[in-house]
Symmetry: C2
């Protein structure tokens, strides 16, 4: 198992407080019953006399008994544990999904085993093995972008749900933000505000996210019969690019009165440059971002109207559906979760 790994040999558990953990048979003998009865008493089975149950419960409490989930899982085949496999170093997008999942599971006594593959397929394989040998009941795979990723389902004997980045296999269960819809929300809002010369600045076009958001722009403009102001400007997902793109835009299309940006960083850059060039936001030019990255969207001046992908809801939903899939009620397909427009001052009338 590789050089670096083998050096880390597991220490022999020499905790100074070497008290043996209390087991159900300790509880049973303290209560003066058999382990079977103790088990039934603790699990609320009804074929145990009430006085006996009280004795067992009291004994368990006195000893601070906690059932060993390992033994329980070994028997039942369920560990009440799911693996969460992420590829993007838990960056910007992984976190809310994780939180949502943790939230959904935490309520139901599930635990989350976290693995970060850092975008390395070998590491992913490695983590996958570790998770499976720990007998997780299911897996959530969080993509690093909304681009589809290879399916895992062939190799894996437990249900898998993909969040944020869908699986390439449409038979799998995937949850992704509806970026087309999100962009449409943004553009329709700009149209509602009376803007008619709407430009689009976004990230690299090899991102599914960029392409889908552009598609949303196209659709929303088409349904209103309005032409896009200039061509879509595709660059990087950075504030720097936002600044640069704004320069280009102000030169090529001086009469622009709104810019829809592919993310909040770009939007922040656009706002900055627009203001430096003497145009007011939103007075002369309205700006909409994407992601609702609060540190940017609320702290810029003016605060940004932006599209929120509801990632925490997405994560929670994915977790709930994983739960359903574990129960045999899988819901195959790529589910597009609606986005939400957060209106702030950058698009005020």
């Amino acid at each position: 198992m590789g050089a670096m790994v083998s050096t880390v040999s597991l220490p022999k558990r020499v905790s100074k407080k070497a008290e043996r953990r209390v087991t159900i048979s300790d509880v049973a003998s303290l209560a003066g019953v058999s382990v079977a009865t103790a088990s039934k008493a603790l699990n609320g089975r009804h074929d145990v006399r009430d006085s006996t149950r009280q004795r067992v419960l009291a004994a368990a409490k006195e000893l601070a008994f906690q059932p060993n989930e390992l033994a329980r899982g070994l028997l039942s085949g369920q560990t009440r544990t799911v693996g969460l496999l992420t590829s993007d170093s838990m960056g910007r997008f992984g976190i809310p999904v994780l939180l949502g999942a943790e939230d959904a599971f935490g309520a139901g006594e599930m635990a989350v085993l976290l693995c970060d593959a850092r975008g390395d397929a070998i590491r992913e394989q490695h983590h996958l093995r570790a998770l499976l040998s720990r007998r997780v009941d299911g897996l959530i795979v969080v993509g690093e972008s909304t681009d589809p990723r290879p399916s895992l389902s062939g190799d894996v004997p437990v249900p898998v749900v993909y969040a944020y980045g869908p699986s390439e296999d449409p038979q799998d269960v995937s949850f992704v933000p509806d970026d087309v819809g999100g962009a449409m929300l943004a553009v329709r809002h700009l149209l509602d505000m009376g803007r008619r010369s709407i430009a689009h600045v976004t990230g690299p076009m090899d991102y599914t996210a960029a392409r889908e958001r552009e598609e949303g722009v196209r659709l929303a403009l088409a349904e209103a019969g309005v032409a896009q102001a200039g061509r879509t400007l595709a660059g990087e997902w950075s504030q720097r690019w936002g600044r640069h793109a704004a320069e280009l835009l102000l030169m090529s299309t001086p009469d622009v009165d709104a810019v829809f940006c592919g993310n909040d960083q770009i939007a922040a850059g656009v706002v900055e440059t627009v203001r430096e060039r003497g145009r007011r936001v939103p007075g002369d030019i309205a700006v909409v971002g994407y992601d609702n990255w609060e540190i940017l969207s609320t702290e810029t001046r003016p605060p940004l109207t932006t599209v929120d992908m509801n990632l925490e809801v997405l994560g929670r939903t994915a977790a709930q559906h994983l739960f359903a899939a574990i129960g045999g009620r899988a819901t195959p397909g790529v589910h597009r979760m609606p986005c939400r427009l957060v209106i702030r001052e950058s698009t005020a009338p």
Copy 2:
């Protein structure tokens, strides 16, 4: 999904692909040996003939055998799993610590069970019980701030290491950033750049972080025999407060030539206002932030010189020491991890 908690009953595991998982006895019978021999062959014990071992290994490979960690853990008392208990919804500071820990453990075949208590003590107890009943080998507790938190060690039969926020009990093992030292780095740097009228704007003084950073300022100025420009301005940890504080500062102390800020958000606000008031950064006023929150520190103009707490290193170190503690080699005390000054344009000469 209904009334949240109680509706979530564990489904009976009805996975359609109901193939029984392959066990070591499958491997043994395929190889024509006993399970004992198979186990020894797989674990590299030396009392098994080489030809036999080859047969077993081949069988294991053919069946894609993966040992059941539950059974193994039940027997050995070790699960190769640690719990990571965080209180701050994995916010700004939890993530890098988590990453560092995951990194350190991942290499050694350890898995991380993640729990987020959302700052709720009851939820924390709940998660703690869940982790212990899963028989984690140890625990990392990530604080939501550098303020000390109540010790867990009394209630818990496994080693605990505290990261970012230390335990109140000095006998516990804690790793915290050396904020005094970090602030000193920043102020010394400003002095080196020739600044002599240095102000300090920071967050609420009921934060240990704010107090320690201020202490660092005091020490660094004292060792150079320079007086602080005005009193420390304590407000919130926000960009908004940074802007407001900068206004106050420019009024009360017009000759200020440097501002050390308690975090990057404040620094971003200060920079913004300083520039709007017609002073140049760094020409007239140098600004230093804290945290090295990249989205802010690299994207502001000019990019911010800032103190990086090396949280990922801190997390990794904490994990390594937890590992040591599991092996009985604990290192009690509050360990202060050095910070690092990241020099960017906001303090250029």
